[in-house]
C-alpha cells in the first residue's frame, strides 16, 4: 500500500489528487484539490502553488506530506497564447448630411420637409415656404413652442424641428399643430442653414420608413438617378432608427471606409501565403488551413496587423523571458466581431457598429525548466518527485475514467488561453494539438461588442446567466421565468440587467437589453469554442474525418460553463459523435483529468504496463 499524489500544473489552475495504490496495482482515490497556479507554468515559481494544493489534498485525505511515497508531476505543455483586436472599418459623415443618433424621446410623429432656419430667424420668414427649425439649448422649451406657434399662426409653415436639449416631447406637447422633432443633437450649431432638410419621427415601437429608404429620400428631395446613388449610404445608415434628420448638401456624403488593416503572412512548414486582414476571419482561417501546419506568422510592418502581432510577441517575450526573435506563432484564430465606435463627423455623438477582427495567437515556448521545478518540490517535501507523461496522454487516461466512455476517444480541453485536443486510438496511440483561442478571447469579445471597457464584468457575463430586476422582490430570468425574493435586492440592481454571479446579482451599466447581451455572449462562445472544437478535432482525428471517432469528452475549466458544452455537443451531433462533459472518476466533473491520469498511468506501469487504465478506476463499468 503506497500513497501517491498526481499534480497537474495548468496555465491558470493547479490541480492535485491523492491516491492509494495497493500491492496488486489497484488504485483507490482519496481526495483532490485545486488552486491558482503561481507564476508561469513549467517554471520553479510553480512550487509555492503546488505545495499549497498538495497540502489541501492530503489534508482532505487525512494524511501528511511525510506519508507520501511519490509525487507525479505532468510535463507542462510549452504553449501560451495572446490576443489582440483591431477595427477595420469606420463610418464618416461629411458636411453634416444626416443625424441618426436615435434619441430615446423624440417628439411628434410624421415627416417634415423644409428649409433649415434658426428659431431666432422665424419672425423674419415670409409665409408660404415650409421651414425646419433649429433650436439650441439656450432656448427654453416654452419659448420655443411659443415662437413656433406664433410663426404657424402667421402662415409660416414649420414642418419639423431639430433640438439640442432633451426637449422634443416638451415642445411637441405645447404646439397647436404637432410636428416631428428630433432632440439631443449635441452639435446643433453645425447643422447647415438654408439647406433643404427632412425630419422624420416614427410612432412608438416603429422605425422610420421614408428616410431609411433611398427612393424615399429621392422623392423628398427630388433627386435624379445619380444623386440617389450618392444618398444610398445615408438611407442604409438610418435603417432601424425611430427618428432621423437628412440635410441635402451639395457634396454631403456618408462613407463606409475600410481601414487598411494590412496583410498577414502565414508561414507554413511547406508553403506560405498572405491574406488581407480586412478580408475577414473566414478568409484568414481558410488561408491558415491551406498552409497548415503553421510554423510562424508575420504582419505587414506599419499596419494594424503588424501592430497586433508585435503586441502578442512582446507580451509572450516578457512573460517567458524568451528573446523576441525566438518567439514562433504556431496557431492563429481570427474572429469577426463588431465594436461600437463614434461616427466621425456625427452631429449627435452617433455610434456605428464597426467591423473588427480579433486575433488569438498561440506561441510555442522553449521547454520549461521542469527538472528544476521537480528538484524544488523534492527539497520542499522530502519526497520523491517524478515528471511523468505527456499532458495530452494523461488527460486521455483521466478522461477514460468517465463512466460510459471507451476507445477510440477524443478529448477537448477548453482552457482560458488555449483549446487542446487529443485522440486516443483503439491501439493506444495518442495524437494531440494545441490551438489558439479560448475563454480569454470570449471575454474580450463580450467586452468589445458590448462596449463595456471592463474585462472583469465581461468575465462575469461570460460565466453566469442574466436577469432583469423588475422590482425589488423579483427577477425576470433570461429564459423568461420569474424568481421571487423575500428580502429586497440591492438598491443598485433596481431596473437593471444583472449577472447572477455567485456573489449575488451584479448590475450591468449599459443601455443593452437582456436579449442583446445574451445574444452577444452566446455568439462569442460559438465563434471561439465551437469553431475551435471542430478545428481541433479535424487536426487530430485520423484522416480529418470527425465520423471516425465515437466519443468526445469535454474537459477543462471552460467545460464547467453553463452553455459551452451544450453548444459544442449540438454542433458535433451532426457527425454522429457522442459528446459530453467529462466526469472524471465519476465524481470530479471535467476537473482533475490530468492529475488522475498521472496516478492511473503510474499504477499501470508499476504493475508491468499490461492492465487497462479503465479497469483500475471504474471496476463497476466492466
Amino acid at each position: 500500500m503506497t500513497l501517491v499524489a498526481g499534480v497537474d500544473i495548468g496555465n491558470s489552475t493547479t490541480e492535485a489528487c491523492a491516491a492509494e495504490i495497493g500491492a496488486d496495482g489497484e488504485v483507490r482515490y482519496l481526495s483532490q484539490a485545486l488552486g491558482r497556479t503561481s507564476g508561469v507554468k513549467g517554471t520553479t515559481e510553480n512550487v509555492v502553488g503546488v505545495l499549497g494544493v498538495l497540502r489541501q489534498a492530503l489534508a482532505a485525505a487525512g494524511a501528511s506530506p511525510a506519508d507520501l511515497s511519490l509525487v507525479l508531476v505532468n510535463e507542462a505543455t510549452p504553449v501560451i497564447s495572446g490576443l489582440a483586436m483591431e477595427t477595420i472599418t469606420e463610418t464618416i459623415i461629411t458636411e453634416s448630411t444626416m443625424i441618426g443618433h436615435n434619441p430615446r424621446t423624440p417628439g411628434g410623429i410624421g415627416l417634415g420637409v423644409g428649409t433649415v432656419v434658426r428659431l431666432a430667424d422665424l419672425p423674419g420668414r415670409a409665409p408660404g415656404q415650409p421651414v425646419i427649425c433649429v433650436i439650441d439649448e439656450t432656448i427654453d422649451f416654452e419659448d420655443a413652442a411659443a415662437a413656433i406657434n406664433a410663426a404657424t399662426a402667421r402662415g409660416v409653415e414649420v414642418t419639423g424641428a431639430v433640438v439640442q436639449a432633451d426637449d422634443a416631447t416638451l415642445i411637441a406637447n405645447r404646439l397647436d399643430r404637432p410636428i416631428p422633432i428630433v432632440d439631443e443633437v449635441t452639435l446643433v450649431r453645425k447643422v447647415p442653414l438654408g439647406m433643404l432638410a427632412a425630419v422624420e419621427v416614427a410612432e412608438h415601437g416603429r422605425t422610420i420608413r421614408t428616410l431609411a429608404n433611398s427612393y424615399g429620400i429621392a422623392t423628398v428631395f427630388g433627386l435624379d438617378a445619380e444623386q440617389t446613388r450618392m444618398i444610398a449610404p445615408v438611407a442604409r445608415a438610418l435603417v432601424g432608427n425611430r427618428s432621423a434628420v437628412v440635410v441635402r448638401t451639395p457634396a454631403g456624403d456618408i462613407t463606409d471606409r475600410r481601414i487598411p488593416a494590412g496583410r498577414l503572412t502565414l508561414l507554413g512548414e511547406q508553403a506560405s501565403r498572405s491574406v488581407d486582414v480586412d478580408a475577414g476571419a473566414a478568409e484568414i482561417m481558410a488561408t491558415a488551413r491551406r498552409v497548415a501546419p503553421l510554423a510562424d506568422a508575420a504582419g505587414e510592418p506599419g499596419t494594424h496587423v503588424g501592430g497586433m502581432l508585435s503586441r502578442v510577441r512582446d507580451g509572450m517575450s516578457d512573460l517567458t523571458g524568451t528573446p523576441l526573435a525566438e518567439i514562433r506563432i504556431r496557431d492563429v484564430l481570427a474572429v469577426d466581431t463588431f465594436v461600437p465606435q463614434r461616427v466621425t463627423g456625427g452631429l449627435a455623438g452617433e455610434f456605428a457598429l464597426e467591423n473588427a477582427v480579433a486575433l488569438a495567437a498561440m506561441v510555442r515556448t522553449s521547454k520549461g525548466p521542469m527538472e528544476l521545478l521537480a528538484e524544488g518540490l523534492r527539497e520542499a517535501l522530502g519526497v520523491a518527485v517524478r515528471i511523468g507523461g505527456v499532458e495530452a496522454e494523461m488527460a486521455v487516461l483521466g478522461a477514460l475514467t468517465t463512466p460510459g466512455t471507451g476507445r477510440p476517444v477524443a478529448i477537448l480541453d477548453l482552457g482560458g488561453g488555449s483549446t487542446d485536443a487529443a485522440v486516443a486510438t483503439a491501439e493506444g496511440d495518442v495524437v494531440s494539438v494545441h490551438l489558439a483561442g479560448a475563454g480569454d478571447l470570449v471575454t474580450k469579445l463580450i467586452d468589445a461588442e458590448l462596449g463595456l471597457d471592463n474585462l472583469e464584468l465581461a468575465e462575469e457575463i461570460k460565466k453566469f446567466p442574466l436577469a432583469k430586476a423588475e422590482s425589488f422582490f423579483h427577477l425576470r430570468l433570461e429564459d423568461g421565468t420569474v424568481r421571487f425574493f423575500d428580502t429586497p435586492l440591492p438598491a443598485d440592481t433596481f431596473a437593471r440587467v444583472v449577472v447572477l454571479t455567485d456573489g449575488g446579482p451584479q448590475p450591468i451599466p449599459s443601455r443593452h437589453g437582456m436579449d442583446r447581451i445574451r445574444q452577444v455572449r452566446r455568439e462569442a462562445k460559438r465563434k471561439v469554442f465551437v469553431v475551435n472544437a471542430v478545428r481541433a478535432l479535424e487536426q487530430v482525428v485520423p484522416g480529418g474525418n470527425l465520423r471516425g471517432i465515437d466519443f468526445v469528452v469535454v474537459l477543462g475549466g471552460s467545460a464547467l460553463d453553463f452553455e459551452i458544452p451544450n453548444l459544442i455537443a449540438d454542433s458535433l451531433a451532426e457527425y454522429g459523435v457522442v459528446c459530453g462533459t467529462g466526469n472524471v472518476r465519476g465524481t470530479q466533473g471535467p476537473r482533475n483529468a490530468v492529475a488522475t491520469g498521472l496516478v492511473a498511468n503510474h499504477a499501470r506501469t508499476a504493475r508491468g504496463g499490461t492492465g487497462d487504465p479503465e479497469a483500475e478506476s471504474c471496476p463497476a463499468s466492466r
Partner: protein, 195 residues
C-alpha cells in the same frame, strides 16, 4: 393658495385636499418639504423653487410620464418625505425635494434610509441636474435602466455651506405640523410679467 414670485416665473401651489395613493402605473410623485414654495422661494444657492419644480416636472414630462405633486408637513426629513411619497406613487417611484435643494429618488419597496439616487449636497444642485432627476425618476417608473445622474462632490461645500444649511433646516422644521396628512397640490408656473 399662495403665490411666490421670484425671477421671471411665478410658482402657484393650490391645495387639493389629502393626497390619496395613486393607482396609475405611469405616474410618479414629487414630494415637497413643509415650507417649499411657501416660506422658502429659492434654494440654498438662490435657484428659484419655481425653476426647480419646473425642471423636475419637465424631465418627467419629456419621458411621457405623469407627475403628482404632494406636500408633506409632518417631517422635514428628506428620507421620510421621499419614502412616504413613493408609497403614494402609482409606479412606486418618487422624488423628494427639500426647500434648500437636497433631493432624492426613492422607491416604495426600499427601506426608508436607502434610496435609488441621492443628491446630498444642495449647493451643487443646478437646474440641469433637477431636469435629469425628473428624467431618471420617470425612466425608473417605465422600467428602464437609466444611468444614475452624475453625482458631484465638492469638499468645500461642507465648510462653506454647513452653517447656512443648518439655519435653513431649522427654519424648515418650524413649519412641521405633527401628524399632518400629505396634501395634494395643483401646480401652476407662469411668467411673472403676466401679472
Amino acid at each position: 393658495m399662495n403665490a411666490t414670485t421670484t425671477g421671471k416665473r411665478v410658482l402657484e401651489l393650490t391645495e387639493r385636499g389629502v393626497a390619496a395613493p395613486g393607482v396609475r402605473a405611469d405616474e410618479i410623485v414629487i414630494g415637497l418639504s413643509p415650507a417649499f414654495g411657501d416660506f422658502f422661494t429659492k434654494t440654498i444657492v438662490d435657484i428659484p423653487l419655481a425653476e426647480v419644480l419646473r425642471e423636475v416636472l419637465a424631465g418627467v414630462e419629456e419621458q411621457g410620464v405623469r407627475a403628482r405633486v404632494v406636500r408633506f408637513r409632518h417631517s422635514a426629513d428628506l428620507a421620510v418625505i421621499a419614502h412616504r411619497a413613493a408609497a403614494l406613487s402609482g409606479s412606486g417611484i418618487a422624488v423628494g425635494i427639500l426647500s434648500r435643494g437636497t433631493t432624492m429618488i426613492h422607491q416604495k419597496d426600499l427601506v426608508r434610509l436607502s434610496n435609488l439616487e441621492l443628491f446630498p449636497q444642495a449647493p451643487l444642485m443646478d437646474t440641469d441636474t433637477f431636469r435629469k432627476v425628473g428624467r431618471n425618476a420617470a425612466q425608473y417608473a417605465k422600467g428602464e435602466s437609466p444611468q444614475p445622474v452624475p453625482s458631484r462632490n465638492d469638499y468645500m461645500a461642507r465648510p462653506r455651506w454647513q452653517a447656512k444649511a443648518a439655519l435653513l433646516h431649522i427654519k424648515e422644521t418650524e413649519f412641521i405640523r405633527a401628524g399632518a396628512e400629505p396634501v395634494e397640490l395643483d401646480v401652476r408656473i407662469r411668467a411673472a410679467q403676466a401679472e
